[in-house]
């Protein structure tokens, strides 16, 4: 599998930001009252994520380590401002529906998380595909949650009247049928939690079945920053290898990266002296 396809697969399925990483819960729960809102939020985030991943990856050797978070935020915020203005100009209905949650994309932890754990330590092209994959995964998840909530809570799907409610009955041969009463709790806040929990459970179930059949369901590593303390890769096989002494599986670290790490360590020692 080449790098680009791997990043897409990772973002949409293996490390789906909503159902697996459980990131970006605020927009996930707040804006998914309908499938269109979920899709709009997901795609907006996807665009910002892709662009910010590319820029951060380009600047990864320029941004000083100590001020990287403010630097990331500035880059992300610029793209969010652009997206907000574009939405306001060309998709005003979506702009009104999403409201405050568009500017809040700045502090969406998926975007900052990918900048920190992938874009800041990988080249541009994989970072871009990582952004696209994660963004599509987020869009997919939000659309699913929005669709279920809209269907159960209003009997609609993408704004079309699907189930026969009292307001929009089916007309069959002159007689109107309306057997579905919308359960309005699903368009309210508690419904978001119910649907998210059930979809996550369903996704875990599918994954467990895949594991039983012998498919590899583990996460794909997203590159090493040699800073295990601030690294989120809990499944990393050489996590804290530098603290394990001689038993550490050093051989598994790519030779080039290891050399760089050793160089860093030497430089630090010299500085201290």
């Amino acid at each position: 599998m080449n790098k680009a396809a791997e990043r897409l697969y990772n973002g949409i399925i293996k490390e789906n930001p909503t159902f697996v990483l459980m990131l970006g819960m605020c927009p996930t729960l707040a804006v998914t009252t309908s499938a269109i809102n979920g899709l709009g939020m997901g795609l907006t985030t996807a665009v910002v994520l892709t662009l910010s991943n590319m820029i951060i990856s380009l600047l990864r050797n320029v941004i000083p380590d100590k001020v990287r978070i403010p630097a990331f935020i500035v880059i992300i915020a610029s793209f969010v401002t652009m997206m907000q203005m574009l939405l306001q100009a060309y998709l005003p209905f979506l702009y009104d529906a999403l409201g405050i949650y568009i500017p809040l994309i700045v502090v969406n932890c998926i975007i900052l998380g990918r900048a920190e754990s992938y874009a800041s330590k990988n080249p541009v092209i994989p970072s871009m595909f990582d952004g696209i994959g994660m963004g599509l995964g987020f869009s997919l998840a939000l659309t699913c949650i929005g669709a279920v909530r809209e269907l159960l809570g209003a009997g609609d799907l993408f704004g079309f009247h699907v189930l026969p409610t009292a307001d929009h009955p089916w007309m069959i041969g002159g007689s109107s049928i309306s057997f579905y009463t919308p359960a309005s709790i699903f368009v309210l806040a508690p419904g978001a939690f119910f649907v998210l929990a059930f979809l996550t459970a369903l996704q875990n179930r599918v994954k467990r079945n895949g594991e039983k059949k012998g498919r590899d369901m583990s996460k794909i590593q997203s590159g090493c920053s040699h800073d295990c303390l601030s690294c989120g890769e809990t499944g990393c096989e050489h996590r804290f290898y530098d603290t394990q002494g001689a038993d550490a599986p050093v051989g598994k670290v790519p030779a080039k990266e290891q050399k760089a790490a050793e160089k860093n360590a030497e430089a630090k020692e010299k500085e201290e002296q």
Partner: protein, 310 residues
């Protein structure tokens, strides 16, 4: 040595009261209220009660069957949940309300958290609130063949006068099981006499509620108003049958008093200052959520810990 045959590790004091016995007693204690509800509201109420109980029991059975777990339908806890839920529905509700509520109560509130003893919220009340938020117009429509118009609590809230005697007997509009104070208290007496519940939670609940009503109700110590507030709505049903649920009440003695007082104050706030006339279910659910914290601050000291050094 043969006398030592039965010595085992603790607990050494055993009670003959099993879960099924307790639950069966609760079902028996609920029968007066159920029978009065059916007598009061007619055949619709009977159908709704049967459908709701059947759906809770069937949901529990199917879930445990599908998940390859031990079938626990025989402990009657699903029957209690179904019965309590049905008593909290208006008799005009369509049959599928009972099914949706029953499935939600057992599947989401009870079984997904690990079954009887693990649920953090009373399943019947959880389902009632789910239905109340989802299908507000159905759940607050108390019109039926016998009665029409507002429930006594709604009438009280809008400043109309109510017939307190009718409310105590139960000849008013309302949900199936909440109307008759006499029937509920009869059932509660069965539970108290058999030792299934005691008066700590209901007592603290009702007393603190009365004090709250006297202080903030705007009518002072008006006995007709107070008895109307006590007899109206689900207060009696909630205080004796739902707040005392073994799973979702605090286990410490002081915690139970605190729990009762919290429920009384919350019910008072919901009824007097909230937008709707009734607030017992939300009060008890909020109380259920606070139970772990209540138990934490009322944990009794172990023997030998604390106190003055001699």
């Amino acid at each position: 040595m043969s006398d030592l045959r039965n010595v085992s590790s603790n607990p050494h004091i055993r009670s003959k009261m099993t879960t099924s016995n307790i639950m069966l007693l609760v079902v028996i204690a609920l029968l007066p209220a159920t029978c009065f509800g059916i007598y009061n509201f007619g055949i619709d109420a009977l159908i709704l009660v049967l459908v709701t109980v059947a759906s809770t029991v069937l949901t529990e059975y199917l879930y445990e069957k599908l998940m390859h777990k031990k079938i626990t339908v025989g402990d009657f806890s699903a029957v209690v949940t179904g019965l309590l839920l049905a008593l909290n529905l208006p008799s005009s509700a369509p049959w599928w309300i009972g099914v949706v509520g029953g499935v939600f109560a057992i599947l989401v509130v009870k079984m997904l958290f690990g079954g009887l003893g693990q649920n953090f919220m009373n399943p019947a009340l959880g389902a009632r609130c789910f239905l109340l938020i989802s299908f507000t117009s159905i759940m607050t429509n108390f019109d039926c063949d016998t009665y029409s118009g507002a429930t006594p609590l709604a009438a009280l809230k809008s400043g109309e006068s109510v017939n307190v005697m009718d409310m105590i007997i139960g000849r008013t509009a309302g949900t199936i099981g909440e109307t008759s104070m006499i029937a509920i208290v009869t059932g509660a007496c069965i539970l108290i006499l058999t030792g299934v519940i005691d008066l700590k939670i209901p007592g603290a609940y009702i007393v603190s509620f009365v004090i709250f009503i006297v202080l903030f109700g705007g009518r002072g110590f008006d006995s007709a108003y107070i008895s109307a507030q006590l007899a109206g709505g689900g207060l009696m049903l909630g205080a004796f049958f739902m707040a005392t649920d073994y799973v979702t009440r605090p286990i410490t003695k002081n915690g139970q008093y605190l729990f009762g007082i919290f429920l009384g104050i919350m019910t008072g706030i919901f009824r007097l200052f909230g937008p709707s006339a009734e607030g017992v279910s939300y009060a008890i659910i909020l109380g259920n959520l606070l139970v772990p914290l209540i138990e934490k601050i009322t944990l009794p000291k172990a023997f030998g810990k604390g106190g003055e050094r001699a």
